[in-house]
């Protein structure tokens, strides 16, 4: 038996992020999604619970609008959800999210916490390690394979200089890389089942943690990446001209 917590975040889908002619970001048309690597986190938690028995609790911090995300997480196989929910929980920086999660998760019983390696929107990769520090449990990040035993976890992490195989006693926290699994795509049946699963809402007045940001955002601007594309024809002559241009630019020798 294993009680597993999977943390997730409901984020802006960057594929729908547009900018106006002045280069300002336009958030009017955005859609939301479950953060990509959190799908891997939930998937891994659900697979472990299927193998070992036990339950998966999906936990998130967000605003009342993020209810869709809670449903999505449940449709992906989590047994229940904890929704730390307040209209002020918007644009949180990682230390704040970790503090809120730690406050609530610290009251739960668990063997393993799984987070995605980073979120699709900020990709700060801090919440997992910060949460582990707050809870004073071992942290293993960028995990690509795990085996869960009764009182310890063995994990592989793909580092720059090789695959590091580590063991740590439970309870522990891991952050997972996308290579760990391919998340299932929830079907209609899963979505229907999700609406019957228990959701515990935790509101701001039930929290004991002070929540001042330690990182302040000064500005957010569109990343200037635009280049002026010169086109070449898809024929012998066009290719010759293209290679000439590449040589002239010093792109090839």
């Amino acid at each position: 038996m294993a009680d597993i917590i999977a943390c997730f975040k409901w984020v802006i889908d960057e594929a729908y992020l547009k900018s106006d002619s002045s280069g300002k970001l336009d958030f009017n048309w955005v859609d939301y999604k479950l953060s990509d690597y959190d799908k891997n986190a939930i998937e891994e938690a659900v697979r472990l619970a299927e193998q070992k028995g036990g339950k998966v609790t999906a936990v998130t911090v967000g605003t009342p609008e993020d209810t869709k995300g809670v449903k999505d997480a449940l449709a992906r196989g989590a047994s229940e959800a904890v929704f730390i929910n307040d209209s002020s929980f918007v644009n949180l920086e990682p230390s704040q999210t970790a503090a809120l999660l730690a406050d609530v998760i610290g009251r739960l019983k668990f063997d393993l916490i799984i987070c995605g390696e980073g979120s699709s929107d900020l990709y700060a990769q801090q919440v997992g390690p910060r949460l582990a520090e707050r809870l004073e449990i071992p942290c293993i990040s960028y995990v690509t394979r795990i085996s869960l035993e009764d009182d310890f976890i063995k994990a592989e992490r793909k580092m720059e200089n090789g695959i590091e195989v580590v063991i740590a006693p439970l309870p522990a926290l891991i952050t997972v890389s996308p290579q760990i699994n391919t998340p299932r795509i929830p079907g209609l049946k899963d979505t229907l089942a999700a609406s019957k699963k228990p959701v515990t809402e935790v509101t701001a007045d039930e929290l004991t943690v002070s929540n001042e940001p330690l990182l302040k955002t000064v500005s957010i601007n569109k990343a200037a990446m635009q280049r002026n594309c010169s086109y070449f024809n898809n024929d012998e002559d066009g290719i010759v001209q293209l290679v000439n241009a590449l040589q002239k630019q010093g792109a090839i020798t």
């Binding site: 960057e14 594929a15 992020l17 970001l25 230390s95 929107d121 900020l122 990709y123 700060a124 801090q126 997992g128 390690p129 910060r130 582990a132 520090e133 071992p138 942290c139 990040s141 960028y142 063995k154 793909k158 580092m159 720059e160 090789g162 695959i163 590091e164 195989v165 580590v166 063991i167 996308p178 290579q179 391919t182 940001p213 330690l214 990182l215 302040k216 500005s219 957010i220 601007n221 569109k222 990343a223 990446m225 635009q226 002026n228 594309c229 010169s230 086109y231 070449f232 024809n233 898809n234 066009g238 290719i239 293209l242 290679v243 241009a245 590449l246 630019q249 010093g250 792109a251 090839i252």
Partner: protein, 315 residues
Amino acid sequence: MGGIWVFAENQENTLELLNKGQEIARDLHEKLVAFATSRTMAENYIAYGADQIYLLPPLTEKEAWGDYLYAIADEAVKLLPAVILIAGTMRGREMAARLAQKLNTGLCSGCINLSVNQSGQLEMQRLIYGGAAVQTVVCTGTPQMAAIPPRTFEPAPYQEGHPGQIGELFLTPQSSVKIQELKPVVSAEGNLAEARVVICAGRGIEKEEDMEMIRRLAQATDGQIGCTRPISEELHWLPEDLCIGLSGQQVKPDLYVGVGVSGQIQHTTGIRESKVVLAINRDENAPVFEVADFGVIGDLYEVIPKLTDELEKRK
């Protein structure tokens, strides 16, 4: 104050941080402090601009690099550094986040640029929304911390006769994470991050056999092969470590060639430092053309063989 601290897993990344660290140390009138795991390394860092070195004992095979966290955190509590810069290798990113938590301060991770503003604060830039936007942050806690990806800055210049002191730190292992094994990964494909020419395979390639065409183009340009996420993650035609993008490899070649690459923002963020970007795609509306210098709109199965032949002719 307790100085500007730089810490990295290896010598190369330490020298890069020393370069930026010197600039910040000068602006904030602080000394520059680095961490080393051998005396030779310590003396080397001094010659590249460090004023003070803390010598950390080498780790045993079972000890995780993250164990240095405790020694550094204890020292930071005592000495109150103004700034800590950590090289954002994977281990470094985890270390930085845990250290920031222990010191109850903010951390700019994935920091691609930083400078001291008029009020003496570090303004730090990072990419968000898959690279679509740049977020500028300041840290309201102390120390101000940043995790900086490898190769963001050039290595520090050598300074003949630069003076510095060496002190020793002791390790009190407190981590319960133990290393069982480090399996080396042999990448047959060479070093993508350092490659001068990168040929990137995208989802426009229809069959695994067609990767041969990409290999031929790579040979003709003396380039390295990389790919977009679907090629490695869904199709497994190439290993994961050849995947280019914000969460994969960041490349800085003289020439990047996107073959059948559509140009999702997650991917193009990994190629933004390329000198010349060439895109080949049959969809004229593919977003990759917005970030390309040169483009050919056409079937890659026609364009690539012609391009390869022309390049081979001129070799």
